[in-house]
């Protein structure tokens, strides 16, 4: 390479005169490359200062790409599988089976008292499944769309967001077995289930924020790709099996998370109060725990802001590093 460059340089020197063969604009211009400085002037250097407002506007304008990408992945995924869309049911049901077997061996864990244990677990799994699925798909969303990223220009946020959407779709399908389980267990969801959208409103920003963060960081730190799938089950076991004690029924769930650590934990892991509240509202008939949810929302929004800012800062490298 070095020798070739040298030769090239030498050859360039032969035709070093800058000649303009034609005076009219657009005539042939031959450049003397020895006049080009080694580095660009400092004031021309590109500093990546993402304009959040502009980015958000652009994202809104090309909102549909997110749906298109999600549709593409869903179609491609289910076209592969013999079971088709039923595949989406398999994942939560298998996790349910595993957890049930696992937890039935844990001494003293009785779920929500009179609530059938299988329902207790499945509601938790559903709420977690949306988050976990989004992280699982989202982490690789930039790396695996390398080719598309090099060839087309639309907000890069669409890649991880399409994975969140896809996970939402799978979770929606996974709601069907929940109703079957209700029927089998002869148990009706409580009226307080109407609060569920509120909990989702806390869960979604957290999910988006973490997906932005993880997907963009992985572009520069590829080895984290292996670590995320190892970490996620641990997080799930902690969150699903060690729920926060809820004031109304803390006798049911003595929790190790108490004292000053409780609010901190709610901010750090917004999934914990979200999960507890999903269960308490759908299965036990409690309303929202405003204090913990408020903290969770603060944490959630923090994750979203930090995740998005990191994503936009690292965006400059995406096409070059993937």
């Amino acid at each position: 390479m070095g020798a070739a460059a040298e030769r090239n340089r030498g050859e360039i020197a032969l035709s070093a005169t800058v000649e303009t063969l034609s005076d009219e604009e657009g005539g042939l211009k031959v450049f003397d490359v020895s006049l080009v400085p080694a580095d660009p002037p400092d004031e021309q250097l590109y500093r990546h200062k993402p304009d959040m407002l502009h980015s958000a506007r652009e994202l809104l304008r090309r909102w549909d790409v997110m749906f298109t990408l999600a549709e593409r992945d869903i179609r491609a995924q289910y076209k592969q599988a013999v079971l088709g869309v039923a595949w989406a049911l398999l994942v939560p049901l298998v996790s349910l089976a595993i957890l049930t077997v696992l937890v039935s061996h844990v001494k003293g864990f009785s779920g929500g008292g009179h609530v059938p244990f299988i329902l207790w677990t499945y509601v938790g799994l559903l709420a977690w499944g949306f988050f976990g699925g989004a992280i699982g798909g989202g982490t690789n969303s930039l790396v695996s769309n390398k080719a598309l990223m090099a060839k087309s220009h639309f907000p890069r946020e669409c890649f991880p967001m399409s994975q969140v959407l896809e996970s939402a779709f799978s979770s929606l399908i996974a709601v069907v077995p929940l109703f079957i389980l209700f029927a089998l267990q002869g148990f009706a969801p409580r009226l307080t289930s109407v609060w569920a959208p509120l909990y989702l409103a806390v869960e979604i920003p957290f999910t988006l924020g973490l997906v932005f963060l993880v997907s963009s960081v992985i572009v520069t730190m590829r080895d984290l790709q292996q670590i995320v799938p190892i970490l996620m089950p641990f997080l799930m076991l902690i969150t699903v099996l060690k729920p926060l004690s809820i004031e109304y029924h803390h006798t049911l769930h003595p929790s190790f998370i108490t004292g000053w650590f409780r609010p901190v934990y709610c901010v750090l892991n917004p999934m914990a109060p979200v999960l507890s509240n999903f269960r308490a509202s759908i299965l036990l008939g409690f309303g929202p725990q405003w204090d913990l949810l408020g903290l969770a929302l603060v944490g959630s929004v923090l994750y979203l802001v930090v995740g998005y800012v990191v994503f936009k800062r690292l965006e400059v490298n995406f096409a070059d590093l993937t």
Partner: protein, 396 residues
Amino acid sequence: MPTLPKGTVRVDHAWKRFRADRTLPMFQDQVVMFGRWLRGYRRPYRWVLRDVNLHSDPGKTYGIIGVNGSGKSTLLKMICQTTFPSAGSVTASGRVGALLEVRSGIHPDLSGRQNVYLYGNILGMSRADVASRFDDIIDFAEIGDAVDRQVKFYSTGMAIRLGFAIAAFLEPDVLLVDEVLAVGDARFQQKCLERISQVVANGTTLFYVSHDLPTVEAVCDRAMWLADSYVRADGPARDVVSLYRQSVGEQAVLAADADTGVRMLKVEVTGPDGGQVLSGEEVNVRIVAESEQSMFGAFHLGVSQGTAMPVFVIRYASSFPQGQFELRCRMQGLPLPKGRYALWGAMRAPRGSGISASLPWQPLASFEAFGPNVIRAPNGVMVLSPVYVPTEWELS
């Protein structure tokens, strides 16, 4: 920011650099690098594009030529706005579409139909817009019944045709074509060139990256020649391409292997009576060479526009003596228009003769021919090489 007409591309003092050290995008490497950064180590850079200026108005076609690694694709990526310039600015107004390859945009698990809609949407078109062009796309790609089959079961040719058809019929304001047409068969290639002319006539700006110089000349109004990250020349496509051809020839001379069994001592190309080389007139070539072995073999001579691909080849088979010999050749009537040409040559013994002395195909000399200018082909028609044909016309 003033709004530019759709299809305008402006590249102002654009520079692009990549990291030059061998750091992998890994957490462990980042940690190591951070430690070194704290100790004052700054990672080295390698410039892949320097000070590129390029303006194109809607409906113009720009060719970008240069050897591998000269920065052509990086420039296209910057115009596509998928990669940021390290310095300077790049703007492209309107929809920018790049020609697709399988697995980039074209998703192998989806059917042809789904892929058309998918990419249309990625380009920013509505479903109705795509639907109105759908039949044209399928017709052009000649995939017929296969439209509902998964693209991974397409033949390579079908997938390429589909990729081209999608990009060329969705009519982005700026179309980027990066060295893909070469893989299609000759008939499809011609069809693509014609389609490109049409798209351009409709006001699309085209950027065309290729090593295939005849197509660049056929398709592009203007061209830019990049060499080793520098812009070497910019101007009308024909002029830039011919400059580039010459340089390829000059570099081949520099790179020619001196350590061969046959050494060239002197090569002269002259016109009639030792004067200038003229179109349609006789040309004399005189070669003085030295061979390590005596051999029965063939001496090939070819005239090219600088590259290794000759316009024509002539051949002389004989028994060559050991040591110095002189070979003279008289071509009667040079079939080339005005321009700069290179004389290439090779000398080889027949296969299996056991003689290793030979001269690989390499440039021997260059010469200027004087005569009528080459006649330009209509837009979108590829001329492989210029040939001078004396003509007489009659209209009645």
